[in-house]
């Protein structure tokens, strides 16, 4: 055995060369001097925390978990994992009620959905926003995503037979957003997959991927979700099905965060869990064909969400969009939009959140596209609120362009 074989550690922190490249790319450091930055919060802090947990710094909560430090690191240090793992391990303060509510996306969805018209009307009111701002510290600039009166699950269940008739099948992890807020994205996916001769099935009762819980101090709850999801994904995989998704964050969470942060083994399902854009690209590359409208024209600017950047699969969305005849494509500079899930909803983060996204918003206005494409629901809210441009998942654009 050589010396080098002893120098690896959990999350690779000993590989850190102190080059500070991670800090140069951290969007939080640029706007919030209270945040020590990924080098200090990650590998530097880890050395101290391992000696004595006293050195845990509460300012780590300012990390928005975008993982851009990790993508930038030339030495393979899992900087973002080090920071999130430290928060899980050392921060024992109970999450606030607000954070609990923001993090419990499927619980809130199942409560709100039956009363969707009322809930939407009430959360949209200026007075409600003021009350939430004052009592819960949820920033009043934010608009809560609308709840849909009918869930995606219900819609797809009604079409079970029709979907089962397709010669090939996939399972779909739709996530909370598609189920409760925006079933249209799920419907668009079904349209595109059906056009490829593939039928869509639900999983046997999926749960929220748990990312909002992980970053809001609810890792125990998140672990329960992870164990449950790996089991239901496993059932689909055992049947020989691939499982597709339309959210880059849910995908990253289930593929990467489950083992790295929650210690949940996902090795049996990981390779079968794919973003729909990758699945569709691979089908087309293997010879499948889609028929597009001849009259389609759309100027699209693609934004790479942070978790897509980490996943490294933005290339599939990009190639699919470019493949559509009539699409005029611009790739936006890869940069954080500032929302990072529930982070930007918190009053204390609002200003930082908008300052982080400013460069991206400026670039979008300069490109002036018909639509911004992006695979993340919370980026969608942020970009729509901050620029006024409409944001669509590449799958929805694909569906619109089909003949």
């Amino acid at each position: 055995m050589t010396l080098q074989e002893y120098t690896s550690s959990i999350h690779n922190f000993e590989e850190c060369m102190k080059c500070t490249v991670c800090t140069a790319y951290c969007p939080v450091v640029q706007v919030n001097p209270l945040y020590p930055g990924p080098k200090q919060a990650g590998p530097d802090g880890e050395r101290l925390r391992l000696k004595d947990p006293y050195f845990f710094n509460k300012a780590l909560k300012y990390c928005l978990n975008c993982k851009r430090c990790e993508v930038a690191c030339p030495s393979g240090v899992h900087v973002a994992d080090l920071i999130q793992a430290a928060r899980i391990r050392y921060d024992h303060s109970a999450p606030k009620l607000r954070d609990r509510l923001l993090a419990s996306t499927d619980f809130m969805g199942s409560l709100a959905r039956p009363f969707a018209p009322i809930v939407n009307a009430v959360t949209g009111l200026g007075v409600t926003k003021k009350v939430l701002d004052a009592t819960m510290k949820i920033d009043s600039h934010r608009t809560f995503p609308k709840y849909s009166a009918s869930s995606f699950e219900r819609w797809l269940k009604r079409r079970r037979k029709e979907q089962a008739a397709f010669p090939e099948q996939v399972a779909y992890f739709h996530g909370c957003y598609v189920n409760y807020n925006y079933p249209q994205l799920g419907k668009d996916l079904v349209k595109v997959l059906n056009a490829l001769g593939v039928g869509v099935q639900l999983l046997e009762k999926e749960k929220c991927c748990g990312i909002a819980m992980i970053v809001n101090g609810m890792s125990k709850e998140a672990t329960k979700h992870a164990v449950h999801n790996v089991a239901v994904l496993g059932k689909a995989v055992e049947k020989g099905l691939k499982v597709v998704t339309t959210s880059s964050t849910c995908t990253l969470t289930m593929r990467e965060e489950y083992p790295a942060l929650l210690g949940v083994d996902n090795s049996a399902v990981k390779d079968s869990l794919l973003l729909a854009t990758r699945y569709i690209f691979e089908r087309l590359e293997a010879g499948a064909q889609l028929k597009f409208r001849p009259d389609f024209h759309l100027k699209v600017a693609y934004h790479t969400p942070c978790h897509m950047e980490k996943l490294g699969w933005g290339v599939f969305s990009e190639k699919l969009l470019k493949m559509i005849p009539g699409v005029e494509f611009t790739l936006l500079d890869s940069a954080c939009c500032g929302i990072s899930g529930t982070y930007g909803f918190k009053k204390e983060n609002y200003e930082a959140s908008q300052a982080i996204g400013a460069a991206l918003f400026e670039q979008i206005r300069a490109v002036n596209p018909d639509v911004v494409a992006c695979d993340c629901e919370t980026c969608k809210w942020q970009i729509e609120m901050s620029t006024g441009y409409s944001v669509k998942n590449p799958i929805s654009i694909l569906a619109e362009a089909l003949a």
Partner: protein, 374 residues
């Protein structure tokens, strides 16, 4: 995914080759395991003397502004070294054109810029130096986190506040012929250094800081943007983990992020850098190239790898993979037909002369032009 060329390594060599191939109408992807040596870039392309107009025009298309003058430039520790092709940020003094009197200006509390060393270096050459510190209001918030008073953070503020520095310098300037400032200007806009030069009535020299290099980061962003605009696929934060070979050819590369989706191509370029970038690995017994297991030119006796005088030429920096005259890689003495090598992994860079940028540029041009003709 099927491409014409897959480039492993997203630094100066990889990006240069990628842009050149995209321009020639070839489809390419670049695999970049994190950020690269451009973040430590001095701004000088050492040892480039031939056909520099080609290089200058090529970079101008990406918005990267180069100039070519023969002379010496000032290094961060006060040493003057021979220079020719470099970023516009770097000032080159012609022979006999060294400053006589210099004003060195730093920001109070900024420790990554070595004003005293610079003064010492210049004074040896007969230049009288005066060091002054300035404070700019916009920078005050950085002091709340003193450990993060770094080049890039200052540069972000200077993108907006550089005119204030100009004002301060104009007030401080007496009869000096030269003003020396830290290289923290123009992170966003490569015109800023020349705007500063226009507004200060003396020669303005930007001297390097500790990394990350501000002009280097800007160059990396400009090159990546240019590459993507030409249709190239930049796989940031991904890593080549294994290669499939078919006889004397490479057929595909598998990456960490694209498990189960190998990148197939006609040609491959290995531009993974030297030891720091993990293009080469070593242990006390040997030096090797980790992805393909290529032949490496290295001294057998470990005691000869390095010179105990840290600042002397270090033999290990010259280690690199073996190639034929067309820069095709060798493995077990045999040529791999479609694997070309570019950049610092070729070895033969001398750190005291510069950063390896000249080698990266010339080898990337050479392999891209060979592939484009095939």
């Amino acid at each position: 995914m099927k491409l014409n060329t897959v480039i492993i390594g997203g630094g100066l060599a990889g990006l240069t080759a990628g842009i050149r191939l995209q321009k020639a109408g070839k489809s390419t992807a670049i695999i970049s395991a994190g950020q690269n040596a451009l973040h430590f870039f001095s701004g000088r392309f050492e040892s480039v003397s031939e056909s520099s107009a080609d290089f200058i025009d090529f970079f101008a298309e990406a918005g990267v502004r180069l100039h070519y003058h023969e002379g010496v430039s000032l290094m961060p520790m006060g040493k003057l070294v021979p220079s020719s092709l470099s970023l516009e940020d770097v000032s080159i003094f012609p022979e006999g054109g060294l400053p006589r009197k210099a004003l060195i200006v730093n920001f109070t509390g900024y420790h990554d810029f070595f004003s005293s060393f610079l003064a010492e270096g210049l004074e040896k050459e007969g230049c009288a130096c005066r060091i002054r510190f300035i404070r700019i209001d916009e920078m005050e918030r950085l002091r709340e986190s003193p450990s993060e008073m770094r080049s890039v953070h200052i540069a972000r503020i200077m993108d907006k506040a550089w005119e204030k520095v100009v004002q301060e310098v104009r007030v401080l300037l007496k009869d000096e012929d030269t003003v020396i400032l830290p290289q923290v200007f123009g992170l966003k806009d490569s015109h800023t250094p020349s705007l500063i030069r226009e507004r200060i009535p003396a020669k303005v020299v930007f001297a390097g800081t500790l990394p990350p290099s501000v002009p280097g980061i800007r160059t990396q962003l400009q090159l990546r943007r240019r590459y993507e605009l030409l249709g190239g696929t930049f796989l940031m934060g991904d890593e080549a983990v294994s290669a499939e070979t078919d006889g004397a050819r490479v057929s595909s590369i598998s990456t960490k992020n694209l498990q189960g989706h190998p990148l197939e191509a006609e040609h491959f370029i290995l531009a993974t850098g030297g030891f720091f970038s993990k293009g080469l690995s070593s242990n006390p017994q040997k030096v090797w190239e980790p992805l393909f297991g290529l032949d490496v030119e290295a001294l057998a006796d470990r005691n000869e790898w390095y010179d105990p005088d840290f600042l002397k030429e270090q033999p290990y920096m010259g280690f690199g993979v073996k190639t034929d005259a067309s820069l095709r890689a060798l493995k077990a003495g045999e040529i791999i037909d479609n694997l070309y090598v570019a950049g610092s992994i070729l070895g033969a860079t001398h750190p005291e002369l510069g950063s390896g940028a000249g080698l990266a540029l010339r080898s990337a041009f050479a392999v891209a032009d060979l592939i484009a003709k095939l």
